[in-house]
């Protein structure tokens, strides 16, 4: 009698109850910082941002809207679509501090749970509909939200190839659409594809999804992604520690351009060790430093390289953890370099949320009334949220007046406290009284 998958599924019923109970609890923190579970305490007050947050650059001209957004007849010039879809300027200046009492501050546990709502396929914008493509036998995914930053010519192939992207809707019907593909050079299969959809004048980055066909060694990871060229390494931090009940906060440092170049050269010169696939490699002697890793052109944002005392370097830049055992000597050489060259700095990265009801939507903007999240609804404000990246742009394209949405942003300028120029994600949510864990006081923010 052949063992069948049904046998396995049925036998799963009787695994240890402790395993089931463990899995019924909230997910452990993801092993990567880009997709590190960004937990937003509902009870949290809006934090002060210590410095400016840089807006994202967008290679986006005038994409044709997929849906017919609800227009706001009273749109003021600051929300004119033509203005909002050009690259948002870097945000600088004092940041607005929201002193209004959030409804959740006075509850222990949650009154309701927040779920991320699913958008029917036919109402999704094109980028979400075709978030997975298969090209030359390899599957790629769009690392949504994607900033759509330009990619230099020496990174992608000079000529595009034509292909099709396909998607299946809820009814099981397959849809296809024409695409033009520029493949990233340096690895076969390419680690990234940059795609233009027919009728859309914008780039969309797709990341290889089959891990077994991607990284095999440290050197391959660096060269196939052209990281020395595309990833400036200008900041790092010590990890926060709470051993023994004593909390030691993280300390943040920055590197000069010259030191960053040196650091990249040191990383490039590390031994080309193979990836250690097992994730059960212990605590590796403890974390020494987190080196911030960002390469927006590759869809890598807010990731890191972590140095471990026992000789490991671990990174999450490809959406999954890679472990490389480079040896204690190499690690400590890097650690000593960081200790000697880092300049203490304030931590400037912080994400905040606005939860509210959509009151108007246009091309590249939406308006949001946040009465739903306030203790005193009379203090409600109407925010204008501007798209500054394709992810947000397309997220907004899904929205309709009356929906409850959560906007994740990186600060609001004090001089225009009703305009959100740093949105990084917009999600349609449902607030329910029955779903989720009643003890849960967090919102899980998906990538």
């Amino acid at each position: 009698m052949k063992l069948q998958s049904k046998d396995i599924l049925n036998a799963m019923t009787d695994i240890g109850p402790d395993l089931v109970e463990e899995a019924a609890r909230p997910a452990p923190a993801a092993n990567k910082s880009k997709t590190v579970r960004r937990v937003v305490l509902i009870a949290a007050c809006v934090a002060l941002l210590a410095a400016a947050v840089v807006g994202t650059v967008l290679l986006l001209n005038r994409p044709t809207p997929v849906n017919d957004p609800v227009t706001d007849p009273e749109t003021d010039p600051s929300t004119d679509p033509a203005e909002t879809i050009v690259p948002a300027p870097p945000v600088s200046g004092d940041l607005w501090v929201d002193t209004r009492a959030q409804k959740q501050q006075n509850v222990t546990g949650m009154e309701g749970s927040i779920e991320f709502a699913e958008m029917p396929w036919h109402r999704q914008p094109l980028l979400l509909q075709y978030s997975t493509i298969e090209w030359k036998g390899t599957v790629y995914n769009s690392p949504y939200p994607y900033t759509g930053d330009p990619v230099s010519d020496d990174v992608v192939s000079s000529d595009y190839e034509t292909g099709t992207a396909s998607a299946v809707d809820e009814e099981g019907e397959t849809h296809t659409i024409g695409i033009r593909v520029y493949a990233m050079t340096g690895a076969e299969p390419p680690r990234r594809l940059f795609v233009r959809f027919d009728g859309y004048d914008l780039w969309v980055g797709f990341r290889i999804s089959d891990r077994s066909r991607s990284t095999t060694s440290w050197g391959e990871l660096l060269t196939s992604l052209k990281l020395p060229e595309l990833m400036p390494l200008t900041s790092f931090n010590t990890p926060a520690d709470d051993k023994g009940g004593v909390v030691t906060p993280a300390q943040y440092f920055k590197l000069s351009g010259e030191d960053s170049d040196t650091l990249r050269a040191m990383l490039t010169a590390l031994p080309d060790v193979p990836e250690t696939v097992s994730s059960s490699v212990g605590d590796k002697g403890g974390e020494l430093y987190h080196i911030s890793a960002n390469a927006p052109a590759l869809g890598i944002r807010n990731c890191k390289f972590v140095l471990y005392a026992d000789g490991w370097i671990v990174t999450d830049i490809e959406n999954i953890v890679y472990n490389f055992e480079i040896g204690p000597e190499a690690v400590w050489e890097l650690a000593d370099f960081l200790a000697a060259h880092g300049t203490p700095t304030e931590h400037t990265y912080s994400r905040q949320t606005i939860i509210g009801t959509v009151t108007a939507v246009g091309e590249g903007w939406l308006k949001l009334n946040d009465a739903i999240s306030l203790e005193n609804p009379d203090e409600a404000m109407e925010f204008t949220v501007l798209a500054n990246g394709t992810g947000v742009y397309y997220g907004m394209a899904c929205m309709r007046v009356g929906m409850t949405v959560m906007v994740i942003h990186e600060g609001i300028l004090a001089e225009e406290p009703t305009v959100v120029r740093t949105a990084v994600d917009v999600n349609w949510i449902r607030i329910t009284s029955s779903g989720g864990n009643p003890d849960e006081t967090v919102i899980y923010i998906p990538e």
Binding site: L3, S5, D7, I8, L9, T13, A24, K32, E447
Partner: protein, 184 residues
């Protein structure tokens, strides 16, 4: 009320046992059934069936953990319901999970009909070799049958990341099953 006290109520054939079960574990059972069935009405029926089955099982059963006991019953009943549903129409997370797990099947044939208890023990051992994150993904996908999209949201991973990790876990399970003799 403790598990022991609730079980005592069952043993006394006191109907308050069901109310207490509902109060303590109704939400948990509803969650399991809801995840598997993805249908609120079906889930509600399954939870009620779970209470009935529990009423009929205790005594003589005396579970160490009432929560685990209820969870297993809810899961079995939910799967039975799914099988009936899928006999008419293929689809849903159950079929998806079945298809995925088919990748784990060792080549060849087993010498006999697989002993479910032995297979459960084998799976238990395998899961305990995984780290916390992988355990979460595996059990949520193949015990609760949580959709990949929901799993991705909960774990704050992309769907592609969840899929690739599950694929790797299935490969490891396949190796584990083979190692434990699930081949001719």
């Amino acid at each position: 009320m403790t598990d022991e006290e609730i079980i005592t109520l069952y043993e006394r054939r006191d109907e308050a046992s069901i109310a207490e079960t509902e109060r303590q574990y109704g939400r948990y059972c509803r969650y399991i059934a809801g995840e598997i069935l993805q249908n609120e009405q079906d889930a509600e029926e399954i939870v009620n069936d779970t209470y009935l089955k529990t009423w009929n099982s205790i005594p003589p059963e005396k579970p160490d953990s009432l929560k685990a006991f209820l969870g297993c019953i809810t899961r079995r009943l939910s799967i039975n319901r799914l099988e009936k549903r899928n006999a008419q129409k293929r689809g849903g997370e159950y079929m998806a999970a079945l298809d995925e797990l088919a990748e784990c099947l060792p080549d060849g044939e087993c010498a006999s009909i697989p002993d479910e208890t032995a297979l459960s023990d084998c799976l238990d051992r395998f899961i305990r070799t995984l780290d916390r994150e992988d355990r979460f993904l595996f059990v949520r996908r193949y015990w609760f049958m949580t959709p990949v999209s929901a799993l991705a949201r909960e774990a704050s991973l992309t769907e592609s990341c969840v899929k690739s990790r599950l694929m790797r876990l299935r490969e490891r399970l396949r190796a584990h099953l083979t190692k434990e003799g699930y081949t001719v």
